[in-house]
Structures are given as structure tokens and as C-alpha cells.
């Protein structure tokens, strides 16, 4: 313990109480005393005592009852029972109730000292354990990213190595694996960390809009361009630009991007001024860019520009050992947000989480935990609070009606993609307009998602 322990003496005999108090004060402890169990409980409610020296036989509330109640108020307090009538029975009972040890009155002078030293060492050990556990947890956390699996530990090591450089990084992985968190971690641990981190979801914007978003435009560049607007490249100057869903950009934008990466300069749409920027590019995709190159949908030269260093984020199904850690972290996060007391995950529920294949990856896990905390009212997330069954790992029992099935599925995809229409349309393999039509048809609202 970094400080001297605070000791409370509880004994109905004033001579015992006072002589022990004087003795312990010579050791420099903060000591106070109570003449009964009732007074001790009031003092325990007012202040945290590290050690309570508690007489076993007292009129009114006896030592065992006082022990139980003090432990309820302050579970961390260590109790040393004192008795003039030592019997194995009473000692065993006191220890069963959670006493640290017992002393027979009068004590040998070194006996009480040894016991207090033992408690201090024990408490130090508890603190050390907490610190070690915290350290271990920190090892499994990289900023907001969580993972103890070998695959994620490799990702953390890679982030460590690439963050301080200015290299372009291509982050690949399925939807929902946390690619943007990786990008934020790289930026946050780089020398650019105090400069802007600008993210652009390339797949969410139509080609022309993406161009004006990235490069900005001059007044009158196109109809509706009433004043000059800075693009994301300018905003990210001296910082980091994160281009998400890079596999979805058009061939024209690919050419513009390639030019910027090569020359580190560009012009706003409708402008002639050449703007130089110092931007670190991080890009991410859930697409197979090599296949896209083969199919002539992605430029090979741009791929090699972006893919200086690549980080692949494994899907959750390939790192199931991270599920308990992730689930616990999400429970803690949402309990805090929802102002709930800490909720545990029942073993049966955890088994279901481990058995499921997680097509929506970490994002889906997060959503399911949040949902379970909203639905469940108990102190534990039970298997029933989870929306998939044990038998087939499939979502909730499927509706019989095809229409209903379609509406449930669209809702799920919109939920998983956080209402990203382009992404949802791609996952559903329909065009954006069709998706809009279906959203209208089934009356799906952004709020409910």
C-alpha cells in the first residue's frame, strides 16, 4: 500500500480499545475506535477503513454480525477478529464469514504487527494483480481496437511500425472489421496526430460529388457552386486523409487521385491555381483489388501507389478468441452510455456468440450487444436476449412471408452498414434507386435503424 493503512478498532472494553489504539498510533497508523458494532457500522459508512480489528464478543451486535455488515458496506476492508475466548469453532466461523485472521487477547506485541504486515502485503498483492490485469488489457487494446488473437496482435505491431512513417497504407478487410479504427490508430500514433484526420467514404458518394468533395471547387465551377469550397485534400493538409471504400471509385477519380499521389498537388474544380498539400494517405477497401485490376475496374499503378504497406484486418470468425474481450468491452461501453449497472454475459449467451459466424463482423457484434442490453432487463445477458438461435447460427426465426423476409433482411443490412445506402445496395446486390424504392415500400426509417 502506498499509504499507511487506516485502522478501526471495535471493542466494548475501553481499556482494550484505548491501549490498542495507542500501540498502533506509535506505528503511525491512522487509528480510530468504536465501542460497539452499531457505532462501527456508522463509522464504516462514513469512511473506508483498510483494516478493522473487531472484538468477537460484544453486547448488542456481536463480532460476527458486525463483520458481515462491515463487509457489505466495505468489501475491501480486511477484518482481524479479536477474542479472549479462542475456540476453533468461533475462529473458523469468523474466517468463513470473511475475516482475514484472528488474534487471542492479550496479544504478543509482535503478533498484531505481523498480522497487519500480512494484510498490507495481501492488499499490495491485490493492487498488483489489478495493475497487471490492466496492463494485460492494455496489451489487448490499441486505442479503440481490441484483440488478443495472434492475428490482431500482428496488426497492432504493424500499426506501431507504420504509424511514425509517412507511408501510404492500404487497409483491407471485410465490412465491419474496424478498418477506420485502424486508420485512426495510425494517425493517432503518428507525428501528424495533432493535425486533422479527414475521412471520406468514397463509396457513399456519386462520382461527381466525390470529385468536388476531394478537390474542392471554385465559384461557378458548376451550376450551384455559388462560392469557393475547400476539398478534403486541402482540409487534411499536414494531417491524414482516409479514403474509405477506395475500391468503389470511378476510373476517372482514380486518375485524379494517382496524379495527386505522384505530384502532391492539384487544382480545385473550375480553378487553375495549383495547390500543394502535405497529406498522408490511408486507404481502405473490403473489395479484392487484385481481382478488380484483372477485370480492369481498378488501375494497377494506383493500387501499387496505395499498397505501399498493407494491413489486413481479419474477419471476426477467424479470431473468435477475441469475442469475449470484445463483447465485454461493448457491454461496459453501453452500460456506461445507458447508465446501467455492470451487466455480465451468461455462459450460454457467450457460447452462442462464439458459435455464430459474424458476417457483419465486429460492428454486428457491437450492435447485438447494444440490442441485448436494451432488451434484457436483468444483471446478465442471457441466450434469449440474442437474436440468433443455437441450432444453425442463423438470425431470428425467419418470417414465412417473402415480403416480410425481404423487409427484415433490408433492415438488417441497413443496420449493419449504418444506413450507408451505397454500401447496403452493394451488399444486397441491387442498385441504389431500387433500395430507395424498397425503403419507401416497407416504410423503413433511419431512426429505427
Amino acid at each position: 500500500m502506498s499509504k499507511k493503512p487506516r485502522i478501526l478498532i471495535v471493542d466494548d472494553e475501553a481499556a482494550m480499545r484505548e491501549s490498542l489504539k495507542d500501540w498502533l498510533m506509535e506505528d503511525g497508523y491512522e487509528v480510530n475506535s468504536a465501542e460497539s458494532g452499531e457505532v462501527a457500522l456508522k463509522m464504516a459508512a462514513d469512511k473506508n477503513w483498510d483494516i478493522v480489528l473487531l472484538d468477537l464478543k460484544m453486547p448488542g451486535m456481536d463480532g460476527i454480525e458486525t463483520l458481515e455488515k462491515i463487509k457489505e458496506i466495505n468489501p475491501d476492508a480486511e477484518i482481524l477478529m479479536m477474542t479472549a475466548y479462542a475456540t476453533v469453532d468461533t475462529a473458523v466461523q469468523a474466517m468463513k464469514e470473511g475475516a482475514f485472521d484472528y488474534l487471542v487477547k492479550p496479544f504478543d506485541p509482535d503478533e498484531v504487527e505481523i498480522q497487519i504486515k500480512k494484510i498490507v502485503e495481501h492488499k499490495d498483492l491485490v493492487v498488483q494483480n489489478i495493475l497487471l490485469r490492466k496492463k494485460l488489457e492494455e496489451k489487448y487494446h490499441y486505442d479503440e481496437i481490441i484483440g488478443k488473437s495472434d492475428a490482431m496482435q500482428e496488426v497492432f505491431e504493424l500499426i506501431d511500425r507504420v504509424a511514425p512513417t509517412d507511408s501510404t497504407v492500404l487497409i483491407t478487410g471485410e465490412s465491419g472489421t474496424g478498418k477506420e479504427l485502424i486508420a485512426q490508430a495510425i494517425h493517432g500514433n503518428s507525428t501528424r496526430c495533432y493535425m486533422p484526420f479527414i475521412a471520406v467514404s468514397c463509396g457513399a458518394l456519386p462520382d461527381t460529388l466525390l470529385e468536388s468533395e476531394l478537390f474542392g471547387y471554385e465559384r461557378g465551377a458548376f451550376s450551384g457552386a455559388e462560392h469557393r469550397k475547400r476539398g478534403r485534400f486541402e482540409m487534411a493538409d499536414k494531417g491524414t486523409l482516409f479514403l474509405d471504400e477506395i475500391g468503389d471509385i470511378s476510373l476517372k477519380t482514380q486518375v485524379d487521385l494517382l496524379r495527386i499521389l505522384q505530384q502532391k498537388e492539384f487544382s480545385r474544380l473550375g480553378g487553375e491555381e495549383v495547390i500543394k498539400v502535405d497529406v498522408r494517405i490511408l486507404a481502405a477497401t473490403n473489395r479484392d483489388l487484385k481481382a478488380a485490376i484483372r477485370e480492369k475496374r481498378f488501375r494497377e499503378d494506383l493500387f501499387y501507389r496505395l499498397n505501399v504497406i498493407s494491413i489486413h484486418v481479419p474477419p471476426l470468425r477467424q479470431r473468435k478468441e477475441d469475442i469475449p474481450l470484445l463483447a465485454t468491452a461493448f457491454v461496459q461501453k453501453y452500460c456506461l452510455e445507458m447508465n446501467k449497472e455492470e451487466v455480465k454475459i451468461a455462459p450460454s449467451a457467450l457460447k452462442l456468440l462464439m458459435d455464430y459466424d459474424w458476417p457483419g463482423n465486429v460492428r454486428e457484434l457491437e450492435n447485438i450487444i447494444e440490442r441485448a442490453l436494451v432488451i434484457g432487463q436483468g444483471q446478465r445477458i442471457e441466450a434469449d436476449d440474442l437474436p440468433f438461435s443455437r441450432r444453425d447460427g442463423a438470425p431470428d426465426e425467419l418470417p414465412k412471408s417473402l415480403k416480410k423476409m425481404e423487409s427484415v433482411h433490408i433492415r438488417r443490412i441497413l443496420h449493419e452498414t449504418s444506413w450507408n445506402i451505397s454500401k447496403a445496395a452493394r451488399e444486397l446486390d441491387i442498385d441504389r434507386q431500387t433500395l430507395y424504392n424498397k425503403i419507401d415500400k416497407y416504410g423503413i426509417t433511419k431512426e429505427e435503424i
Partner: protein, 186 residues
């Protein structure tokens, strides 16, 4: 007024014991010591059940007899002392108060069935006196096993420590002493 410690023999205490205590306090603390009148044997403090003497009662008697011109008042007795919660004590003191009492009973090698050794016995007496005086000035126990303020729960602890304060306890002692001197002059 010069800072003075008064030593009070309680019951039968040989002069050969009181003298070395005075010399030790004068040498280690820079305080003048004087000898007070002998107090009666502390039969009032005898506990039949324990066949020992309650040090708290002796301390109370000392407080009542506190000499006016002393900053500290130390009783020395041959009887075996206890405090209610402990089986025995070598001495007790009022923390940052004027009075203390030490017992020579458990300091002689003979008590531990060892050959008589007067030098060792006197050394233990001096160490115990210095330790209790430290408490009277406000010093608590020290972690340094060699410091005089290290807690002596067994005679081995007393034998192991040196007859002096460690540097930090020395600094604190001097500070407390200055405070006591200022208070006594006020």
C-alpha cells in the same frame, strides 16, 4: 528555561541504571537530565489475574506528578509492565506528550535464561529509554531496523538496533525538540 528531562525511579531501581539513562539522553538528545524523588512501588497498578503491572495506571500517576520545570518526565521501574491488549511491553509513552515509563524487567539477559551481562542490560535500558522519549517528542516507529525508533516487540529487535536515530528520525526529533523548546519558553 533549559529543556530538561526528569527521570523518576519507581519502586526499587538501582542508581547504576538511572545514571546511564541520563547520560545517554544528554549525549544523544542534547537535553539536560535530572533525577526526581523516588516514587513508591506501583502496587496500585498490580493486576492479580496477569501477575503484572498496568503501565497505563503508572503513566496516569506520572501525569499527576509532572514536575513543573521539565519538558519530559520518564518513570523507570523493575516491575513487569503490560497494556490491556498486549501480553507485555518494554515501555509505554504518551505520543507527543510529557510522560513515559520503561521497565527493566524483560531487559536483563537472565530473563531469557542467558548468562548475566550488565553491559548488555544497560545498553537495552538506554535504548528503551531513548525509544520512548522519541515517542514523547512525537516520533512514530521507523522502518529502519537499525534506527532507535524501530518497533521493539522482541528483545532481539532491541539488540539489533543502534543507540541512535536514523538521519530522518534525527531530523524530525530535532524539529520536534525545537518546537518543545519554543513552547516551554512561551
Amino acid at each position: 528555561m533549559t529543556a530538561c528531562v526528569t527521570i523518576c525511579p519507581i519502586g526499587t531501581v538501582e542508581d547504576e541504571i538511572v545514571g546511564p539513562i541520563s547520560r545517554c539522553i544528554e549525549e544523544k538528545c542534547g537535553l539536560t537530565c535530572r533525577l526526581s524523588q523516588r516514587m513508591e512501588s506501583p502496587e496500585y497498578a498490580y493486576d492479580k489475574g496477569r501477575a503484572q503491572y498496568n503501565s497505563k495506571l503508572i503513566l496516569r500517576r506520572l501525569i499527576n506528578e509532572l514536575p513543573k520545570n521539565s519538558i519530559k518526565f520518564m518513570g523507570v521501574t523493575r516491575v513487569d509492565l503490560f497494556v490491556p491488549i498486549l501480553k507485555y511491553v518494554f515501555g509505554v509513552a504518551q505520543m507527543q506528550g510529557p510522560c513515559s515509563v520503561i521497565s527493566t524487567h524483560r531487559l536483563s539477559p537472565e530473563f531469557y535464561e542467558e548468562a548475566p551481562n550488565q553491559d548488555l542490560f544497560l545498553e537495552r535500558v538506554q535504548k528503551t529509554a531513548l525509544h520512548e522519549l522519541g515517542h514523547c517528542f512525537g516520533l512514530t516507529h521507523c522502518r529502519d531496523r537499525h534506527c532507535i525508533m524501530y518497533s521493539s516487540t522482541r528483545i532481539e529487535d532491541t539488540d539489533l538496533k543502534k543507540m541512535d536515530f536514523c538521519p530522518s528520525c534525527r531530523g524530525l526529533f530535532n524539529w520536534y525538540l525545537d518546537q518543545a523548546r519554543e513552547d516551554s519558553q512561551a
